[in-house]
Structures are given as C-alpha cells and as structure tokens.
Amino acid sequence: MEKTGERARREGIESGVEGFNERARRALADPELHDSIALFTRKTLKGRAARLAELPDAPGLRERAYHIKQETMANLDRYLAQMADAVEERGGNVFFAETGEDVVRYVGELARKKGAKVITKSKSMATEEIELNRRLEEEYGELELEVVETDLGEWIAQLAGDAPSHIVAPIMHMNRRQIARVLSRVAGEPLPPDVRALAGFARRRLREKFLAADIGISGANFGVAETGTICLVTNEGNGRMVTSIPPVHVVVMGIEKLVPRFEDLEVFVQLLARNGTGQKLTVYTSFITGPRGADELDGPEEFHLILMDNGRSKLLGTEFEEALYCIRCGSCLNVCPVYRQTGGHAYGSTYSGPIGAVITPLLKGDREAKDLPHASSLCAACWETCPVGIPLHDLLLKLRSRQVEEGLAGKAQEIAFKGFEEAVEHPAAYRAGARLGRLVQRPLVRDGSVRRLPPPLSGWTDFRDLPPLAERSFRELWREGID
C-alpha cells in the first residue's frame, strides 16, 4: 500500500486533480456506496424512460424548455422586477440578495425580530449552497435557533452531519441499515432497519417541529414572473407543512429559477418530475402566491421572497450562460459514469455530478474548484439526458480551456502540449518521435506489453497494460504496400 503523501506528490503533475482523486479513492473503497448508487439510478432511469416515452413529443418539450430559458435569461432583469412587483402587490416582501452572506443576514435579522426559536425547512439546494443552517446557528448563536430540515433525506443527512450527496436524493449514499443507525442514535433506542418503522419515527419527530416552527424556509423549484407565484414540487408533503403552518414563510430562490409565464410551468413541471424522479407529477405540486389573503384559510401571515444572485448574474450573456438553464432534476448525476463510481461527496461541493462540475467553478471560481471540470470522461451522457438540453460536456471543455488561459493547468502540461503541437504540425518530428519511442521502450517491454512508465503516464501503467509501439507504423506498412 502506497502512502497518501507519495500518491499526492506523484499526482503533483500540476493537473490540479488531487482533491477529487483523494475523495474518489475513499468512495471507491466503499462497495455499499456503489450498490446504493446503482440501485437508485437503475430505478430512476427506468422510470424516467417510461415517463418520457408516454409523451407525444419529448424532444419537442426539451426544445421548448431550452428556448424559454434562453429568452428568460436574455431579459432576466425585466422578469425579476416583474416578479418582485407581483409579490409586493400580493402583500409579500422581496429582497434581492447579491451574496449568500446577504441571505444569512436577512434571515438572521428576521429571526431576531420575530423572536424565532424553531425554523423548519423544506429541501432547498440554494440554502445548501450558502450553508444557511450552519451559518444561522453559528453567526446568530445568541438566538439559539433550532433549524430543522424536514425532507426525510435532508433530515437524516442533517442528523448524520453529512452534506447531501445528490441534488434530488440527498442520502443516496446511505442504505437502510446506515439510516437505522443514525435514527437510533436520535431515538435513544435501537430502531429496526425497516422502512415503515423508520419513516414512522421520522413522522412523529418532525410533526412536533412542524407545529412548533416560528419560521418556515423553502426553496423554489420555479418562480413565475407574471404572477409572483412560487412553485414547489415535493413527494412527502413536508413542503406544505413548512410553507403554511408557521406564521412566516421565507423563500430562498436562485434568480435563475424564474420562468416568465404561468403557462411555462406546463413545460417545466412535467420535465422536472419525469426526468428527476420518473413520475408524471410529484405527489405534491404547490403554487404559493404571497401571504394568506383576507379570504384564505391557510398560509403564513408574512411572506418573504429572497432572490439570490450569488454569482449567477455574471454568467448572463457569456458562453457559460446555459449553466443557468438547469432545473436541478439530477438526471445528469444519474447517468454520469463518474458519479456512478464516486457518488456526490467526491466532488467536495454542494452540487455534484456533471452540473456540479460545471456550476461550482462558475459560482465559486476556477481556482476553488480546479479539479471538477476534469472529473469527467466527456462521454456526454449528461447532455443527452438533460431535460433542458444544456451541453454540459462542452461547458466542461470550455472550463478546462479557461483554466489553461488563466495559467492554472501548470507548467508541466503547458510544456507537454507545446511539444505535442510541434510534433503534430511537423510530420518529420512526429515520425522521429515515434522512432525514438521505439528505441526507448525496449527495456520497458515485458511479455509484449509496457508494464511501467514514469509519471504522469504511470497513471495508465499502474492499472492497465499498454501495448508497445508497433515495429512498423501504418505509414511504413502503407509505403511497403499492403496485400
């Protein structure tokens, strides 16, 4: 067994992939993880295929979605203003948050003003992205807030101290037995690894929190500009408990979640459910427009919409804009052969899989997520499956290119590819290189294969055989005449 330090040094070929490899190695050593992922993806992809096959024109729907998003992004400022006006007209409050920090401040101060103790949350990747829970509890410690995730998977992840490992299925990295261990700890008694028993325990515990909550925080799957409506799709009903029982409802919505018209939801709601979970519609599809009206029985007294930028608007009009078209269905994770091996935690970021490898560097910076654009074999399964048609593999390539332009690829690669270009542009040099290779390889060939090469090529020969350069190249055979 090699030492980790040696490994890291050997990878010190300035390819900038150390972090991912290290985390991926831990994932690869966990056979239960691979089984959990294979099980989930098989089920979801089967459902997805069946639900898409039912549509009269699935490719047409995808086209429409792409064009709606394209048009939305081209006029995002106008639509955001329209959305804000519509919400305010219905008696809601709107806050534009440039950063995650702004969101934390707004929610923290609101909690202070309301004297809140318990905050319930429905599943929201936007709040995961800014680590809202941790920061509220730490930065507003004096308020002694109890922030409770109420999506079953998110709750278990929170109790286990884990980050979600999948956009849609946050604890896809755990199986029944692991979940039973986490919940037994909370229950103070051993719970059987039985789905019904575990869900029953969760329901009892969460019910107490739903009723005690002072503030409910949700994300938004979509926000409709023309009506100011928030659309939430859930399967457990917890979303409705969070958005209607507490006196205050706060929505944290990434600005890219906007659609211009209510009728656009016809396109997106079906695409999200069919692609994300293989359902025609999720069990609950909720439309929330402002606080409780005078003539309404349910709903919060106060409604706050936080429109969060956090790095998104700088992508508008750039070659990376398509990354904003994502509707967070998780389909690209389910088909990704890299994700399939490593799971979400290897990415070391809130968003994992192909979309995570694209938006993490875009939102956080190339240097902060240097390894992620390389965590792909560019097989393009992500693009093929994306319900909105985002060319994720092309965006990964553009990100790799941007790293090179920023000098992040490292000297070794710069020299290597300069040499590559020289050889490729000069056939004589290419042939001379091949002749030299044949000479140099002689001591390395054993039983007709090259068993060991120096770094970085050891990345190949440590795990696979490599045939030696042929005695005669095709060009030489051609010249001699092929019979």
Binding site: L28, L378, A381, P427, R472, F474
Partner: protein, 246 residues
C-alpha cells in the same frame, strides 16, 4: 468513389493492423483509397485538456493535409477522432470564420468506418466469418455525437459464426476519456471494471468496437487482470485477410 484514409495517431503507431484491415475492407468494396502521408494527430488530446490554441494548430495541420487531397470522403476507424474533426473543429473555430469554413467543408465529409460502409456504400454484408460470442461496445462520441449505433451491430449480425449478445448497461462509458485515464486513473479503472463485470456476465468471448481507444483501455485492463477476452476492431472482424499484418 475515392476515399482518403484518416488513421488516428495511436492506430498508426500502436495498432497499425487496424488501419491495414480498414484498407482491405474498403479495397474489397471497390473503393479507391489514398492515404495522405502528412497526417499526424487530430489534436484531441490537447483539446480535451483545454489547450485549445495547441489543438487549433493540430486542426489547421489536419485541414492543410486533407485539404491538399482530392477525395469524396475521409474515412476514419475511430468514432472519437471522426467527431473531433466533424464536430469539434467547428467548435474550436466558431469565432474564426476562415478556418470555420474549411473545417465545415472537410468535417462534413469525414465518416466513421461503419457509418461509411453502411450509409454511404450501403454495404452491411462482407462475407466475413468468425466463431464466437461477441458484445459490441459503442464509443461515446459515436453513440451520442455521431449517432452511429445500429449500423455496426447490423454489420456484426451478418458475420457468419458470430453471435452478437447484449450486455448490461452497455451505454456506460468505458472510462478512457483521453487524459482523464491518467489524471483520474482510479475512477477511470473503476469504470472499466464495471464494463468488464458486464462483459463477464454476458458470457461473451469477444469484444468489438469501432473505437480503438476504448479497446486500448479495456484490453489494457482485461490483460492486466488476466482475462482472456478477444478484443477486435470491427475492421479486423471484416478483414478478408484477417490475421496478416503486412
């Protein structure tokens, strides 16, 4: 019909026998074949690593070499290298109109080997014979960018003695991914191992593909882990003089 052969660099240098078989199959169909000798590499390794400037250099060289030839089609025994020229040269030159025009003119005539046989020549039966039980691995570029998935399988079904069988999750990438295979070797190998497990489960003794780079990867792993699976490029299956190198 005049065809210019585009033999990828690693076929030229490591597995020239694939190029030889391609030539023989084309010749057997009465195709006039030329081989532009100035060709080297299409530039994909640089491109996939984000070195677009260097990749453009390689692309211009390719376009110079093939632009100097007279041909109806360029034929290449790799779905991946075909895609580099047909899809990614236009991507690389999307903001350079002069290069773009040349890239599109040549790129539009580059065809992957089985695509050319089936869709240009209309030939899917070659009188080939090979005993065995085979699975077909479709390279990802060929599957998704080129959409040439059924053609090679129809051709294989016409091979006498060969039983083509399906295998689990056959749409999964083999894990090669160019420099990905050395930058993230453990993940890449885990991907290959999953393919190999599916191969074992299928009971096949032969693995066929139209992408020599996928085969290089899978064979490298099969050999290292002591699997005696026969690994062949489609052209080698069809080669009327199979087994002869020169």
């Amino acid at each position: 019909m005049r065809v210019a052969l585009f033999i990828p660099c690693y076929v030229d240098l490591i597995s020239p026998e694939v190029g030889v078989s391609v030539f023989r199959v084309l010749r057997s169909q009465g195709v006039e074949v030329v081989y532009p000798e100035g060709q080297t590499c299409c530039g994909q390794p640089a491109f996939n690593s984000g070195f677009f400037k260097e990749a453009r250099g390689a692309a211009r060289h390719f376009l110079d070499v093939f632009g100097g030839e007279r041909f109806d089609y360029v034929v290449c025994p790799s779905g991946s290298c075909t895609t580099m020229v047909s899809h990614y040269y236009p991507f690389l030159f999307r903001e350079l109109p002069e290069d773009l025009e040349r890239a599109e003119s040549i790129g539009g005539r580059v065809r992957e080997f089985s695509d050319f046989l089936s869709n240009v020549l209309g030939a899917e039966e070659f009188g080939a014979r090979l005993e065995g039980r085979a699975v077909f691995h479709c390279g990802c570029h060929q599957r998704r960018e080129l959409g040439v998935l059924e053609e090679p399988q129809r051709i294989l079904r016409n091979v006498e003695g060969l039983q083509l069988v399906g295998w689990e999750n056959e749409e999964l990438c083999c894990g090669f991914g160019g420099t990905f295979s050395v930058k993230m070797p453990e993940v890449s190998v885990a991907m290959a191992d999953e393919k190999i497990r599916a191969l074992e489960k299928s009971g096949a003794d032969t693995l066929v593909s139209c992408d020599p780079s996928c085969l290089l990867h899978l064979k490298g792993r099969l050999d290292r882990t002591g699997h005696g699976v026969r690994v062949l490029h489609l052209a080698q299956v069809l080669d009327p003089r199979r087994g002869r190198v020169g």
